[in-house]
Amino acid sequence: MTLLYSEVEEELRAAVRGLLADRCPPAAVLKRIESGPGHRTLDDSVTPMGDLDLWKTLAGEIGVAGLLVPEELGGAGASASEVAVVLEELGRAVAPVPFFTSSVLATQALLPTRDALLGELAEGQKTAALAVSFAASPYRPLRGAPVRVEDGRLSGTVTGVAGADVADVVLVPVDGELYATEGAAVEVVPSLDLTRPVATVTFDRTEARRVGACDLAGVLRSGAALLASEQLGVAEWCLDTTLAYVKDRHQFARPVGSFQAIKHRLADLWLDVVRARAAARNAVADPSPVSVAVAQSWNAAVAVHAAEEALQLHGGIGMTWEHPVHLYLKRAKAAEIALGTPGDHREALASLAGVPGPE
């Protein structure tokens, strides 16, 4: 077990970062969200929020979509550790691509079934979304009313589904079984996180295919483990961007970053980020329930704190729509809720780590 990055991982990072720098600078992300997603069903041709061109390149040329899929099923057979590095970079760019929702969450739900859909996802031909509220957690996998199955058809509504706006296939866990459908009605709602909007997914006697068994809590836990790396990326961007800004911005004829109170806050923030990196690495090196709970409770809060500090230390410009810091704040705040809040994960440690509550 190591907490460091391998050379292979660093190469993968460089490739992803290079592509994102070129194709997905903050200004491009801002422009994209300004067109805004509307209502649509999967059959409609309304432009979704996600950048599908970018996603095609990421999936096709760099091959990130198949990292978790075994080679014999058409993927790259890589480990969570490489996936984590990709997530760090996508977090740094708040890139509007369905990597986390399709290549991580949906793929992990599918993996035990070894379904052929995995190959299509791995190649980036299709993307999938898991029809579970993004606010669900490993400790409470179902939030909201459950979906019912009758005569092989699905009925019910799931709110807060991430990635559904760009999904070709929706995967629906019902009573320990996983179903796949391309006939769900997807209504994107105005979302706090502009770069990963959530949708309400409705099934009305929708035809679906039973794919296999599904350990939903396990899937959400693996997702939570990896979300910590995305949160690390968000926090790193916020710290780096703020450092660059306060070195450059002058007030009172001094760089703002020469004021001691600012320096001390940034030193503390750096120390939080250093520990977030260790926690994220540990959650992929040892994806035990304790490691995941630790990484999520720490990193979710650090990402929010980093984005809040970034906004404050940018002063007025940080409050404007044109500066990208708000995209990170919104991503961080939504990700704090996603897959369990820091408090959910801390409370889970009471039993996981043997720190019992009052009797």
Binding site: G36, F134, A135, R143, G160, A162, V189, P190, S191, L192, D193, L194, V198, H250, Q251, F252, A253, R254, F259, A261, I262, V304, E308, L311, Q312, G315, G316, I317, G318, M319, T320, W321, E322, H326, L329, K330, K333, A334, E336, I337, A338, T341, P342, G343, D344, R346, E347, G357
Partner: protein
């Protein structure tokens, strides 16, 4: 003049002016009767009496047509005291009456993209050309600019001297050619403020307020009046930003957890002691012994608002947002909007009207008497400052 005499004045005024008649005429007459702001001089809407007596007037005139303190806020709170202190007789007569009645709305042209906390480095140039000044530059965070008749404007007139000494203060004609107002979209999606671009704007010298080069001192008067206005209203226990959080807490018992409960209790206590401090501060003001605590109230409320609204979003586990529409809004609608809006908008509380960092400096130096940091910008000509 005492309370009884003031009441007599008001009664006499009401005897000759019908509150049910034309609103504007009533307000103009009230101004002319010296019942607008009684502590202003006679002839300028006042009676030259103690400020406390205004409360009597307001009580007696409750129910009559009122001015709009929202949209007139900058005029009433910032422009008027500055004009009173530094304006010529002619300026006072020209501006104060329509300012008070609301016939002319005012905005503030101070902040610039490059001059936020360090206002005194501002770069908007004003160059004299005969009896006029030609103004070029960009201002930002200007609320109400799009329906303002006048703006209070600070400019750089001498770049060769240290920054505090080379500024001049003007009344800016917002209808003059070269004044362009653009809405400034915020992270909440809406535009509460504007950017104002000034390109070759010509202002006659009669619009100058105070002496050439004395703009910093004039601006201080304006800002002192701003600081007084921020963050002083009474709050009931469990009110303010705690209100919507507690409402949600009661409405969604299924979302509660021990983690959230303990954090909410701590925030409740902080909100309560902050509220009590505000109450104590107001008691001091009434007793005529204003304490230095005022400097801290905005700082406390900014922190609390941010903590409470961040807590609320987390508690509700709400990944949605109510409205991203890019539209103008005239003021902050904390309670009519969703938790996400409150969270985002409250981030501005520690930036607008003096950042929390600047307020901590002020508390440390002016209240606690701690020494200032070494200054590197005091004696350097403005044009040579590093930026």
């Amino acid at each position: 003049m005492n309370e009884a005499e003031i009441k007599e004045r008001v009664a006499a005024f009401l005897g000759t002016h019908d509150p049910g008649g034309d609103r504007l005429e009533f307000l103009r007459a009230r101004f002319d009767a010296g019942l607008a702001w009684v502590w202003f001089p006679e002839g300028l809407g006042g009676l030259g009496v103690a400020r406390e007596l205004q409360q009597v007037v307001e009580r007696e005139l409750a129910g009559t047509p009122q001015i709009n303190t929202g949209v007139q806020g900058i005029g009433l709170g910032m422009a008027a005291p500055t004009i009173l202190a530094f304006g010529t007789e002619e300026q006072k007569r020209r501006f104060l009456r329509p300012l008070w009645t609301g016939e002319e709305i005012w905005c503030q042209l101070f902040s610039e993209p490059g001059a936020g906390s360090d206002l005194a480095t501002l770069a908007t140039r004003a160059v004299r050309d005969g009896d006029e000044w030609v103004v070029d530059g960009q201002k930002v965070w200007t609320s109400g600019a799009h329906h303002s008749r006048w703006g209070i404007l600070v400019t750089r007139t001498d770049p060769e001297v240290p920054k505090h000494r080379g500024m001049t203060y003007f009344v800016c004609d917002m209808h003059a050619p070269g004044v362009e107002v653009r809405p400034l979209r915020q992270i909440t999606g809406e535009a509460e403020f504007n950017e104002v671009f000034l390109t070759g704007v010509r202002l006659p010298d009669e619009l100058r307020l105070g002496e050439v080069g004395d703009g910093w001192r004039v601006a201080q008067t304006t800002l002192m009046n701003e600081r007084v206005a921020i963050g002083g209203a009474p709050v009931r226990r469990g009110g303010g930003m705690a209100g919507p959080v507690l409402d949600a807490w009661h409405a969604y018992p299924e979302l509660r957890s021990h983690d959230l409960h303990q954090r909410l209790l701590a925030l409740w206590v902080e909100a309560e002691v902050t509220r009590l401090s505000g109450a104590r501060l107001r008691e001091q003001l009434v007793a005529g012994h204003p304490g230095p605590e005022g400097s801290g109230m905005k700082l406390s409320f900014a922190k609390l608002n941010q903590a409470l609204s961040g807590f609320e979003v987390e508690f509700r586990r709400d990944l949605g947002y109510d409205d991203w529409t890019f539209r103008r809004s005239e003021d902050v609608d904390f309670y009519g909007r969703g938790a996400g809006y409150r969270y985002l908008r409250a981030k501005g509380n520690s930036i607008e009207g003096g950042t929390s960092e600047i307020l901590r400096n002020i508390i440390a130096e002016r209240v606690l008497g701690l020494p200032s940091e070494p200054r590197v910008d005091k004696d350097v000509p403005w044009k040579d400052l590093p930026r």
